[in-house]
């Protein structure tokens, strides 16, 4: 694994391996749902039912599931353009997400956002942003609002490891730490920004160490072990709720597929072998094995789960296909707020 060993996921679980066992089945189901959803999205893209840029989450499922499972329903979640998995983990329906990818009126953004711009205000899912690093100050802003209102909500902000080199990362983390905002900053570290390995874009490869520049804790987390992810997230959540300020999580994972649908899974920047090697420690397999050991899963149960999620995704695709296009007048709506009486 020449190019990216320096950021390869490594075991970090500390607590009792049985922790959260009553949630394992839900986690497994959600990871499977995301996996199957992304596979079908990829198919739909190749036959032209989905357009634009489409960035799949395959291989990173444990990050979304392990982190979001630690949140309260009224917390805020914000991500970049590789956010299908987080949207599903946050409880958005496969229908509303798939329909958005199809650009349909029934999509979570009414067909106006697309794959990179999924939104669900009710669930505190705040997008879906296309400018690298742009969501980091926004996430800090949600935390600012939570503190302002004393609601004990927090914000969870995802970004790729390549985004840790952009100015908004530095500005937002400094301010969030200075003001002790209830924020969690998650570096979703899949080893590459498009075709660039971490060590070709960052002067240090242990990005968690950058937390020290802001006096906040920085932790490296095994992103292929959902239990480890949840464990680390719980600590960050506790700090945020206690008013102790933000945490930076460097969650090590891997993207099995290309950067986007228009990019091959491997190429000049990484080898087929490397991808294969990382696939060995698949986040779904890791949990599956743990559950089998614990006697919480057998082939039948797994097949049942598989059947469930496959049906759910098939239904979502059918729903998306059959849903109507937005009305033509939708072009002109939502530019400005509906006119109201100023008072």
């Amino acid at each position: 694994m020449a190019v990216s060993t320096d950021t390869a996921p490594r075991p970090t679980r500390r607590a009792d391996a049985d922790a959260y066992r009553d949630e394992w089945t839900d986690w497994l189901r959600m990871m499977l749902l995301i996996r199957r959803f992304e596979e079908r999205a990829g198919e739909a893209y190749s036959i032209g039912h989905i357009g634009g840029f489409c960035h799949l989450y395959i291989g990173q499922e444990a990050v979304a599931v392990g982190t979001i499972s630690a949140l309260r329903d009224d917390d805020y979640v914000i991500s970049a353009y590789r956010e299908h998995g987080q949207a599903l983990a946050r409880g958005m329906t496969a229908r509303s997400v798939m329909a958005e990818l199809f650009g349909k009126a029934t999509g979570c953004s009414g067909g106006k956002g697309g794959s990179m711009h999924l939104f669900d205000l009710e669930r505190g899912f705040m997008g879906g942003h296309g400018i690298v690093g742009g969501q980091i100050p926004l996430g800090a802003g949600f935390a600012f609002a939570a503190k302002y209102r004393e609601t004990e909500q927090l914000s969870l902000t995802y970004f790729g490891e390549a985004a840790a080199n952009i100015g908004s990362f530095h500005e937002a983390l400094n301010i969030a730490a200075l003001w002790k905002l209830p924020a969690i900053f998650v570096i979703e570290n899949n080893g590459y920004g498009m075709g660039t390995a971490v060590r070709r874009s960052a002067a240090i490869t242990d990005l968690a160490d950058r937390a020290a520049s802001y006096g906040m804790p920085g932790v490296v987390v095994d992103g292929q072990d959902v239990i480890a992810v949840r464990e680390a997230t719980d600590e960050a959540v506790a700090r945020a709720r206690a008013g102790e300020g933000p945490t930076l999580m460097d969650i090590r994972t891997y993207r099995y597929v290309g950067h986007s649908m228009s990019d091959a899974p491997h190429g000049t920047y990484r080898s087929k072998d490397e991808v294969e090697e990382f696939r060995q420690r698949d986040p779904i397999l890791v949990l599956e094995e743990r559950m089998r050991e614990a006697g919480l899963l057998d082939d039948a149960a797994l097949e049942a789960l598989e059947a469930e999620v496959t049906a759910e995704v098939a239904d979502a695709v059918q729903f998306a296909e059959e849903s109507p296009e937005p009305d033509a007048d939708q072009l002109w709506t939502d530019v400005l707020a509906p006119v109201k009486e100023n008072d």
Binding site: S109, L138, G141, I175, A337
Partner: protein
């Protein structure tokens, strides 16, 4: 009517709106303990406390984004840009998030935020500190752009901007802060998107905004002695543009001069000229003429700077030209 400076009128607007709505807060560099680089926020920290009057590090992109994020979840931030020159560092958050979030989210998420601070040139601040970017922001759907020229307009428009549910670019002027004017004692709002006839006239129209309003009025006075009766229209809001007010005036006077502080190419005046030639083609007795800053970075030397800037003399000369008086 009390006589207030433009600065104090803005201060009063902020105070009143912060008293009225607990979700309104002020954030920016030096706005709190220092009372604002230009003292617009004087006294607000004492009255509202550090929770609602927030000093930020020098990180325009970061605190603009924090403001936008807080507005996405319902707060109503007023983000002070120490000057609009520095907002170039924050422009991604303004253009790519504030202006688009409602549309991208299919109408779910709004962004009731005001970005405010002084724009354009002051005196000898040099090339990097003397820029007027209103045409840039007015180019962007999803934004409103407001530029008051008088204390009364400043107060009424800022109050409306804060209550508006859209992102508003509110551009003041360092050279305007000390301008005195009558301001109503009772509370009032001035709607966004409505121009104001600062002077009625029959022979020619001057369309202006912000710092070009006063010189336009001076030019009108000069021209009065020359027998020219000039109407002066203050746009007040650049986007949405009060097209009806401009067209009404031009259909009456048949002659138009547009005066703006900034550069000419694709400036606000270009849009107004385009509008008028398109909608009032047959009403025009002369081509529309524009007066704007010399098309160069602003020089430091005071004589060169003066030569670069719009003034009453240049505006008056343009009016004579459209009236074929030269």
């Amino acid at each position: 009517m009390a006589t207030l400076t433009y600065r104090d009128a803005l201060n009063a607007a902020l105070r009143e709106e912060m008293q009225r709505d607990g979700d309104v807060y002020l954030m920016g560099e030096e706005v709190a303990e220092y009372n604002g680089a230009y003292k617009v926020s004087r006294g607000l920290l004492e009255e509202f406390g550090a929770k609602r009057v927030v000093d930020t590090p020098i990180a325009e992109l970061g605190f603009a984004g924090i403001g936008v994020g807080s507005a996405m979840v319902g707060l109503r931030p007023v983000v002070e840009m120490m000057t609009w020159n520095f907002a170039l560092l924050a422009i991604d958050q303004i253009v790519n998030v504030a202006a688009k979030i409602r549309y991208m989210s299919g109408g779910q998420i709004g962004c009731p935020i005001v970005f405010r601070g002084p724009g354009g040139a002051a005196l000898q601040l040099g090339a990097q500190h003397s820029q007027a970017f209103e045409s840039w922001y007015a180019h962007i759907p999803g934004l409103k752009v407001v530029m008051p020229a008088t204390p009364a307009d400043a107060k009424g428009l800022l109050k409306s901007a804060i209550r508006d549910d859209n992102p508003v670019i509110f551009i003041e002027g360092e050279m305007l802060y000390n301008l005195k004017g009558e301001v109503p004692d009772e509370e009032y709002l001035i709607p966004l998107g409505v121009a104001d006839i600062k002077r009625e006239g029959a022979d020619a129209t001057i369309v202006c905004h912000s710092k070009t309003v006063a010189p336009a009025l001076n030019a009108a006075k000069t021209l009065e002695d020359e027998g020219l009766d000039v109407e002066v229209i203050d746009l007040r809001t650049i986007r949405p543009l009060d097209e009806a007010a401009v067209l009404r005036s031009v259909r009456k006077t048949h002659r138009l001069v547009i005066a703006e502080e900034g550069w000419g190419f694709a400036g606000v005046g270009a849009q107004v000229a385009d509008l008028v030639q398109r909608e009032a083609f047959d009403d025009l007795d002369a081509p529309v003429i524009r007066v704007h800053q010399a098309d160069v970075p602003m020089p430091y030397n005071k004589h060169l700077e003066k030569a670069a800037k719009v003034d009453a003399t240049k505006i008056a000369a343009a009016v004579r030209t459209v009236c074929y008086r030269d």
